[in-house]
């Protein structure tokens, strides 16, 4: 075992330990935990079984230095994970937007229903239509 392999094994083992710890503390949702654990385990296997797995695959792909396959695999996984996150963030921001709009709506309807809306000049029409909004909203 040379230095490169030792470093690879050590670092992948650390990643695995970190993921397990995060899961244990429930800081990571299962869905992502599984993803990271599979990644960490796969990389650990690659690093451990260097002669049987890593080198032949590297050879097959025409990668001169097998450790680069490790990096390549790591990069590919991270790419997919980050892409996955971007999708999740997009969905979350859409959901957040809808929530904010709904909060605004509910607050307005609540205040209108409680008659809390101040209305000095010309507010009668607005207050009337607001009450109507609530009514229509409930029916629709």
């Amino acid at each position: 075992m040379d230095t490169v392999q030792a470093v690879a094994i050590l670092s992948t083992a650390l990643v695995l330990a970190l993921v397990l710890e995060l899961v244990r503390r429930r800081r990571l949702v299962e869905r992502y935990a599984l993803l990271w654990m599979v990644t960490a385990v796969a990389m650990l296997i690659l690093a451990l079984l260097r002669d049987d797995v890593l080198d032949p695959i590297a050879d097959l792909l025409g990668i001169a230095s097998p450790v680069n396959l490790l990096f390549l695999a790591g990069f590919a996984v991270i790419f997919v994970v980050v892409l996955n996150f971007t999708v999740a963030i997009s969905r979350l921001s859409e959901e957040t937007k809808i929530l904010a709009q709904e909060v605004g709506r509910l607050e307005q309807e609540l205040r209108a229903a409680r008659g809390e809306l101040p209305g000095p000049n010309g507010a009668d029409a607005a207050a009337g239509s607001a009450a109507e909004q609530v009514e229509r909203g409930e029916r629709g």
């Binding site: 937007k97 904010a100 709009q101 607050e107 307005q108 000095p120 010309g122 909004q133 229509r136 909203g137």
Partner: protein
């Protein structure tokens, strides 16, 4: 059209998106009241940190306040959702920074009801005198979008970034369900086109944008250009649920016959959508 639209019977809503527009929004509301008293007003306070809401409520407007800032797209959509819930027939966007002149509201309304019954009418600065000195960068950006959009929609669109727009129920239903995010005006035009809703342009003059919300400054204008062009490109291929089946056969923009008051809401929805399903199974449109 067989069913003529009685303008006075329509329920009309002015949507005023406002972000930190205290000192301005009150004047906008008063101007709308004076120029177009037949419009209800809803102010969307998009998470302002100043007295925007108090000022708007003091003027008697309905205020929907977002707990945090969503940006102009989210704010405007909130207004369209309100319009849909309230059963409004017509909704118009009037910026809370005073850029849009409420005096034009009835020009827009007249165009919405006559000029071939479009689904959306918007005020263009560039069909004549814009009313103020439009910055050069803004003009160039506008020109590029104008060329691209005109090519896509095969219709002359001179001011695609104008947010001064008035829609009928079809437009309200579409925008309440789906509205673009960051710089929505240009993309919204594309959405209308994708859903086969018709757009008509009316010349208006505008005021120079109030300094409150300069949504586009120079460092960001390049980003804006790229983002919107990308959005246009993506939008061409995006699958969107079709809220309104706008085929050529059925009569677009037909208003429900004047029935008992209160029943208008459900009726017009049924009239606009013979299939009875508001979401058309994710099929965006028949691509040629």
């Amino acid at each position: 059209m067989a069913t003529s639209i009685d303008g006075s019977r329509l329920r009309k809503l002015a949507i005023v998106p406002a972000y930190n527009e205290a000192g301005m929004v009150g004047r906008v509301i008063r101007d709308i009241r004076r120029a177009a008293p037949d419009f209800d007003i809803v102010v969307i306070d998009d998470g302002s940190t100043d007295a925007t809401r108090q000022e708007a409520e003091a003027e008697g407007a309905v205020v929907i306040r977002h707990p945090f800032n969503l940006g102009i797209g989210g704010a405007v959509q909130s207004g369209y959702k309100y319009a849909l819930r309230g059963g409004y027939d017509v909704a118009v966007q009037v910026d809370g920074d005073g850029q849009h002149k409420p005096a034009h509201l009835h020009d827009l309304l007249a165009a919405l009801q006559t000029s071939g019954e479009p689904d959306m009418v918007y005020g263009s600065r560039f069909r004549g005198d814009p009313g103020y000195q439009v910055p050069l960068g803004r003009r160039i950006g506008n020109l590029i979008f104008s060329v691209v959009l005109s090519a896509i929609t095969r219709q002359r669109i001179t001011d695609p970034t104008s947010g001064f727009r008035m829609t009928n129920r079809r437009g309200i239903e579409l925008f309440a369900r789906d509205y673009p995010h960051d710089y929505p005006e240009v993309e919204a035009l594309l959405m209308l086109h994708a859903h086969r809703l018709r757009v008509h342009e009316v010349h208006v003059q505008m005021n120079a944008r109030g300094f409150g919300r300069s949504s586009i400054d120079y460092p960001r204008s390049a980003y804006y250009m790229v983002k919107v062009l990308l959005a246009l490109f993506v939008g061409l291929f995006r699958r969107r649920p079709t809220p309104v089946e706008a085929t050529g056969e059925d009569e677009p923009g037909v208003e429900p016959p004047a029935g008992p008051p209160g029943a208008a809401n459900g009726d017009s929805q049924a009239a606009g959508d013979p299939a009875g399903s508001p979401v058309g199974g994710g099929e965006p449109r028949a691509e040629g």
